[in-house]
């Protein structure tokens, strides 16, 4: 897992994300994605910080913290909880399912001893399912962080995971 974020860092990370994407409402989701990318999740302190830096009645920018929580909980790629050092996303949609996806999913869960959404006690791995990522011609598909793996077989799983240990 990422080291617990320090509050002064968070202030800076939020500032940089706003600087990159702009202080407008259409930048809110990109800003949250950026924070999520840097920290691995969006801690409560970051929401507070973003609200404080963004909210500006003089410029008609009214933003409540609850709006940020509603975004962070609505979108699947954003997380409000810390995740493991590596996140495995497994595609659970029909195209991967009919070419043997379920066996891969069962093997992943067994290998890591995790259920959907779980994190290993050593904080190395988080396992989640994801909706289609558009790599259907090479299903079953899984992502480890940003790396894509296609045509995955049960036998390959330990090799794939070993690359990240």
């Amino acid at each position: 897992m990422h080291a617990p974020p320090v509050v002064s860092d968070i202030k800076e990370i939020v500032r940089q994300a706003i600087e990159k994407h702009g202080k407008t409402f259409d930048a809110l989701i990109p800003i949250l994605s950026e924070i999520n990318h840097v920290l691995g999740y969006i801690p409560a302190e970051a929401m507070r910080e973003l609200q404080q830096q963004f909210h500006n009645p003089a410029k008609q920018n009214y933003l409540a913290e609850s709006q940020l929580y509603s975004l962070a909980s609505f979108y699947d790629m954003l997380s409000t909880k810390p995740r493991g050092k590596h996140v495995i996303k497994f595609c659970e949609n029909a195209p991967c399912h009919v070419v043997g996806g379920k066996a891969i999913w069962d093997a992943l869960r067994k290998h890591l001893n995790l259920d959907n959404g779980g994190t290993t006690p050593d904080n190395q791995w988080t396992l989640v399912t994801t909706s289609c990522i558009g790599l259907c011609s090479v299903g079953p598909v899984l992502l480890v962080d940003d790396d894509m793996y296609g045509n995955v077989t049960v036998e390959q799983i330990s090799d794939i995971l070993a690359r990240y240990e």
Binding site: D26, I29, L32, A94, G134, L135, S137
Partner: protein, 548 residues
């Protein structure tokens, strides 16, 4: 199934029957046997044909040679020439006919599959997507130049109207009409939004365009902007498409540098700027009002309509939202004219369609063919047949919300009107081909799990309906289903379709309805006999019986 080297299709519609097609079919089969070709050559009857003047006809693939009219007594000559000696049986060739979109009437080009026709994918995979000069070399920005220097905005809309282009995102709404609405709408500012939130499971056609030919999207958006009177556009791209995002961003910079985007494009008074906006993972954002909400920095919850985006869209201004594939057709239409575009596809569904093929077939990937080809043709020609040992059981067309069709519907031409008539949705163009080892209950359970997860929760029919439907189908898959629940499931499906606020809830129950329409016996076996005929479902409670 053994790989076949050729495929013969014989017309067997009522008119062909009257003219002796069943005798023809029989004598073709007999002749194949006489030449000992039955292992190498597939033969199948087809119905619903358009070549009414030359019936009965015979099409032989992979050459896509069309013969007609063919009599039973011609069978020997046809088989001997074409399939035994390997040359076209010239004497029997059908007279040339205008292109109708029926795959058989198109000639194969060297190096292509028959009828493959690239308009949308004209350049994808053939040019360096990061180099604007390669795009320019292949007619790039020519249409924009033509429109800005020679055409009025109304003329651009006219040529799109003439082409008959319908939206390729799934709904099939005429593009010109949307543009005309936005052009006519009152607003101090208007927007063009490109829907690149391709999240329909099994669909990745837009990704191929975005990654392989990003400039075509920019050029079309500028054309759309000129047509509707907008000077600003957004590309809403799903958060998962990192490479496509990078390439588009780079393409925008290059286009600005070359003066194809920005101020006074082609020395006209037309200005156009494009912003990129990445989503963060939500299927429902493919719905246009949810997508607009998402750009505005809100959860992607679809709005109630009316008002529609054409009058009250992004930031409450008139907005046209168009899918990537739809847009990618526009420059070629502006360059070549509406009549040219109409020469592909069928009269009611002109143009081409990009399909993604996947499942238990030998080839998975993307194809672009004229509207109106059949699933059988897709499987046999483009997907190179079913995997060894697989036979077609069902196909799902159009992604999760699409239809599940049984093997006996595989000869319905895939175009908007034929599919509508057959009660099938063409959807986004995903074709998931499933073999005999696929359990329809298990498949529908997976689909409902998806919808249950992706429902935004705004309206009751969808929020509760997806959950209830999932529970019932899950119970069936575990041997806990009840027969009387099937009627309830159908009621639920029609209520969801009728009362849901947006397309997600309206179509979530389509697979349920199709399952009960085409595979009821298989479902009932799960309930009455606690048996999964394909041995896919674990049937928790039947385990007890087995152990006894």
């Amino acid at each position: 199934m053994k790989t076949k080297r050729a495929m013969i299709l014989v017309s067997t519609d009522p008119e062909s029957e009257r003219l002796g097609s069943s005798d023809l079919l029989k004598s073709l089969k007999d002749t194949l046997e006489a030449f000992q070709l039955t292992d190498e050559v597939d033969i199948a009857p087809i119905t619903d044909v358009e070549r009414s003047t030359i019936l009965p006809f015979v099409i032989v693939y992979p050459e896509a040679a069309v013969y007609g009219p063919v009599k039973a007594s011609d069978a020997n000559y046809l088989i001997e020439e074409h399939l035994y000696k390997g040359r076209i049986a010239e004497d029997l060739l059908a007279p040339p006919k205008e292109l109708t979109g029926q795959i058989g009437s198109l000639r194969a080009h060297k190096g292509y599959n028959p009828a493959e026709q690239r308009i949308v994918l004209e350049r994808a995979g053939r040019i360096d997507p990061e180099n604007i000069e390669e795009y320019i070399t292949y007619n790039g920005y020519e249409a924009l130049g033509k429109a800005l220097t020679e055409m009025t905005p109304e003329q651009v809309i006219d040529v799109v109207e003439k082409s008959g282009l319908q939206g390729r995102g799934g709904a099939g709404f005429p593009v010109w009409r949307k543009w005309k609405f936005v052009r006519g709408a009152v607003g101090d500012k208007k927007y063009v939004v490109c829907n690149a939130d391709e999240s329909e499971p099994g669909t990745f056609k837009d990704r191929i365009v975005l990654e392989g030919d990003p400039h075509v999207v920019l050029e079309s958006m500028a054309l759309a902007g000129y047509a509707v009177g907008a000077d600003e556009g957004y590309i809403y791209i799903r958060g998962e498409y990192g490479l496509a995002y990078k390439r588009l961003k780079h393409a925008i910079e290059q286009a600005e540098e070359f003066g194809f985007l920005g101020k006074n494009i082609f020395n006209s008074n037309f200005n156009f700027h494009i912003h990129m906006h990445a989503g963060a993972g939500a299927y429902v954002c493919g719905e246009e009002t949810a997508l607009i909400e998402s750009i505005e920095g809100k959860p992607g919850i679809p709005r109630s309509r009316p008002p529609y985006p054409v009058t009250n869209g992004l930031w409450n201004r008139p907005t046209t939202v168009n899918n990537v594939e739809t847009l990618a057709n526009i420059p070629a239409i502006v360059r070549n004219g509406g009549d040219w575009y109409r020469s592909f596809g069928t009269p009611a569904s002109p143009g081409t369609k990009v399909y993604t093929i996947m499942g238990n077939v030998n080839f998975s990937g993307v194809i672009e063919v004229p509207m109106g080809i059949t699933l059988r043709e897709v499987i046999n020609i483009y997907a190179k047949g079913m995997k060894p040992g697989s036979t077609l059981k069902l196909a799902q067309t159009g992604g999760s919300s699409g239809s599940i069709i049984p093997a006996d519907l595989q000869d319905v031409p895939m175009d908007f009107e034929s599919f509508r008539k057959a009660g099938v949705s063409l959807g986004s163009g995903a074709l998931l081909i499933c073999d005999q080892n696929t359990c329809v209950v298990d498949l529908v359970k997976v689909l409902l799990q998806f919808f249950r997860f992706e429902s935004c929760g705004k309206c009751t029919p969808c929020r509760i309906g997806t959950q209830r439907a999932y529970e019932i189908v899950k119970n069936i898959s575990e041997g806990e289903g009840k027969l009387e629940e099937l009627d309830y499931l159908l009621d639920l499906a029609s209520e969801m379709e009728r009362a849901s606020n947006c397309g997600l809830g309206q179509t979530a129950a389509v697979p349920v309805r199709d399952m009960l329409k085409h595979f009821r016996a298989e479902v009932e076996a799960h309930i009455n006999d606690r048996i999964c005929p394909t041995h896919v479902c674990s049937m928790v409670s039947s385990k007890v019986q087995v152990e006894e």
